[in-house]
């Protein structure tokens, strides 16, 4: 059962990811991104990471994709070449493909990942997250808070119009 669900979700996710990259219209791409994130959230649920699945839907599918759609509508970009198959990009893509194939080959041939702990737990309770966040990861939490503050200030400065004298 869980194998079938995994196959379904992963197929859905990959198809939508290809849709993000390949769609000519940016709005369609954003919609595909939304579906792809929903698929990944489903996979998170299968991995018993319920909180992360919820956060992924809330933050990514809710806020980030909405922001993307907003900006796409605002800029209204049409025309121009959608793809760029030039020398350097193509070479880099081929190198990336080669690296992926090499990695997959390694994984298939001798990549016995350490025998996993069987997934039987019903997911980490919320309390464990909170405990980790407030003990081991206290400093990263503070740093992330500052990062968000700086990002907010940066966005305000970037989107304000300044005249020649530098006045807002």
């Amino acid at each position: 059962m869980s194998q079938i669900l995994f196959t379904l979700f992963s197929l859905f996710t990959v198809v939508c990811a290809v849709g993000v990259v390949a769609s000519k219209n940016a709005v369609n791409g954003a919609m595909c991104l939304l579906l792809c994130l929903a698929g990944v959230a489903g996979l998170f649920v299968q991995l018993h990471a319920y909180l992360l699945a919820f956060l992924l839907l809330l933050v990514y599918a809710g806020a980030v994709v909405a922001l993307f759609l907003f900006i796409i509508m605002l800029l209204d970009t049409q025309g121009g070449r959608a793809w760029r198959f030039q020398g350097l990009q193509l070479a880099a893509a081929l190198v990336g493909l080669g690296l992926l194939l090499a990695g997959l080959n390694l994984l298939a041939v001798r990549g016995r990942l350490p025998a996993p702990v069987p997934v039987v737990s019903a997911g980490a309770p919320l309390k464990n997250y909170a405990y980790q966040l407030f003990t081991t990861y206290l400093l990263p939490v503070q740093v992330i808070g500052f990062l968000l503050l700086i990002a907010m200030l940066g966005v305000i400065v970037l989107s304000k119009r300044f005249d020649a004298k530098g006045e807002a």
């Binding site: 990811a17 991995l47 909180l51 970009t77 760029r84 970037l158």
Partner: protein, 101 residues
């Protein structure tokens, strides 16, 4: 029967590479940005899978931070794109070459 860890890693690598090709081969800055998000999500998927299969919670907590950083990054990046569009009236990467030469 549960899917193996290998299959999750494989799926994560596949998603990452799809996003990678999007970043390399598309010319619309917004689509490139969406492909970047795809790569981030692929990395989070691998983290969650490893964390679950090893019985720890550290990977999950790390995904928290990745989500936060991604949200901040999207906000700043889109603001930069809008500022760029205001100035140059284009968001195609082939036209954004003022730093060249």
């Amino acid at each position: 029967m549960h899917p193996s860890l290998e299959s999750y890693v494989l799926l994560s690598a596949l998603l990452f590479v799809i996003g990678f090709f999007g970043v390399l081969l598309r010319s619309n800055t917004l689509v490139i940005y969406m492909s970047l998000e795809l790569m981030l999500v692929a990395a989070t998927l691998a983290l969650v899978a490893f964390s679950q299969y090893n019985g720890t919670i550290d990977g999950d907590v790390f995904v928290f931070f990745i989500l936060t950083v991604a949200a901040a990054e999207v906000a700043v990046g889109l603001a930069i794109i809008v500022a760029l569009f205001r100035r140059k009236q284009t968001i195609l990467v082939s036209d954004l070459d003022s730093l060249k030469n």
